[in-house]
């Protein structure tokens, strides 16, 4: 009920720019922001409780690490409330020398996983996978000097179209664009249909089955 009501207001308000109506849309958006912030607080409390529980009653060898989580969480929050807030030197230090290196490094681990997956998992098991691999191949070659070395002879000649960076650009600008568009349209329709089902009350599993 609430869901459908809110959703319909949002949709109607989009089409009616009359201030009396569109203001509701802006207000609701503000509300949403605030509610989402609370969701984040919820996640944070969850994390804190779970860690506390594990830190006291979990497996012995894991207890220490849960304290690490708790202390770093509270420490970061404390630094944020110091004078200067988000720009305080302490918060800056945590951000620049702990948060940034850790998050960048964790994401860079994926470079290694890509490599190992390319060896063990990315196999031409089917026609589809083969097409995908060949395209990935060309694009990877075309984006580094390797592509120039291998096909540099073709550049500027009548076989210019065989020059790998050119093929890469064409794939990106034509085939990739078309495919992305179709995926976007399809997924958008799927989402809209689910939205309509939710508004009509046909779909209500998000409430945890009643």
């Amino acid at each position: 009920m609430i869901t459908a009501f809110v959703a319909v207001i949002m949709i109607v308000a989009y089409f009616v720019p009359k201030p009396e109506v569109s203001v509701i849309r802006d207000d609701l958006q503000q509300w949403f922001l605030i509610v989402v912030t609370f969701t984040m607080v919820l996640g944070l409390l969850n994390l804190l409780f779970v860690s506390l529980h594990k830190a006291r009653k979990g497996r012995k060898e894991d207890r220490f690490y849960n304290w690490v989580t708790i202390v770093s969480l509270l420490g970061t929050m404390a630094a944020g409330f110091l004078k200067g807030g988000i720009n305080s030197p302490a918060f800056d230090f945590i951000f620049n020398y702990i948060y940034i290196p850790l998050s960048a490094t964790i994401f860079s681990l994926l470079a290694f996983y890509v490599a190992s997956a390319s060896f063990r998992a990315f196999r031409a098991k089917s026609v589809m996978a083969t097409i995908l691999l060949i395209t990935a191949f060309i694009v990877m070659m075309g984006r580094v000097p390797l592509g120039d070395w291998v096909t540099g002879w073709a550049q500027g000649t009548s076989l210019d179209f065989l020059y790998l960076p050119n093929i890469t650009n064409w794939i990106m600008e034509v085939m990739n664009m078309a495919g992305q568009r179709a995926v976007l349209m399809g997924a958008a329709l799927g989402l809209i249909a689910t939205g309509i089902k939710i508004i009509l009350g046909i779909e209500r599993s998000y409430l945890g089955g009643e």
Binding site: I34, V35, G43, L132, I134
Partner: protein, 225 residues
């Protein structure tokens, strides 16, 4: 490069943490676990503070202080109440209250997404596919672009055919669907190639950091700098 001892500590610490994460590649170990838990804690704390300063303070605190009249108050108090409902999930006996907040949140996302998805991902994409045809010409300069516009149109159509669910992929229709899935595979292959590149760039950034900033900091700390 000038660097104070105190200034060297930060990069030094960052370098150690970087290596701690990399140590996971060999195998899971206490040093990695420490760094991972440190990351979980700091990132949760960081986003919390970020939200406090960017959402809570301007939208709740300041808004409450500058509120004029009933309506402005309502605009702060009601969402805060809904937010508190959300927190009720932590208390099992009243966790059903959080469903109201969830219902609101789902309603917002549905109402908002339905429109934006329709506008940007359906209608404007139609416009973008059609627009090259307005300047279509098959002379020397425009030939490539025109052929590309036609290829894009056909590829979009074929890929959409693949997404039809109410008809078996058989006969000529099946062939079109087949072309469609090929288009999709080429798309995914291309974005695969690009993502690989971005991930390796990130790794390069970390290695460059270790080789320059960290190295300078180490030299400094042991008194060589």
């Amino acid at each position: 490069m000038t660097m104070t001892f105190a200034g060297a500590i930060g990069p030094f610490l960052a370098g150690v943490l970087t290596l701690a994460i990399f140590s996971f590649l060999y195998k899971d170990n206490p040093v990695y676990k420490f760094a991972e838990h440190l990351f979980v804690g700091t990132s949760a704390g960081y986003w919390f503070i970020y939200n406090v300063y960017n959402i809570f303070i301007p939208n709740v605190w300041v808004a409450l202080h500058e509120a004029e009249g009933f309506r402005d108050y309502l605009n702060v108090v009601l969402p805060v109440i809904l937010g508190v409902f959300m927190l009720m999930r932590l208390i099992p006996s009243v966790s059903w209250i959080s469903r109201w907040a969830m219902a609101f949140s789902v309603g917002m996302t549905v109402g908002f997404n339905t429109i934006t998805e329709l506008q940007t991902n359906v209608l404007q994409q139609i416009g973008a596919t059609l627009s090259p045809f307005a300047s279509l010409h098959f002379n020397n300069g425009g030939l490539g672009a025109s052929v590309n516009a036609i290829i894009i149109l056909l590829a979009v159509l074929a890929a959409l055919v693949y997404f039809f669910f109410s008809k078996e992929h058989t006969g000529g229709y099946g062939h079109i669907a087949k072309v469609g899935i090929w288009v999709l595979m080429i798309t995914f292959g291309a974005s695969f190639g690009y993502t690989v590149m971005a991930r390796i760039s990130l790794l390069i950034g970390r290695v460059q950091f270790l080789q320059t900033d960290w190295w300078v900091a180490i030299k400094h700390i042991i008194g060589l700098g």
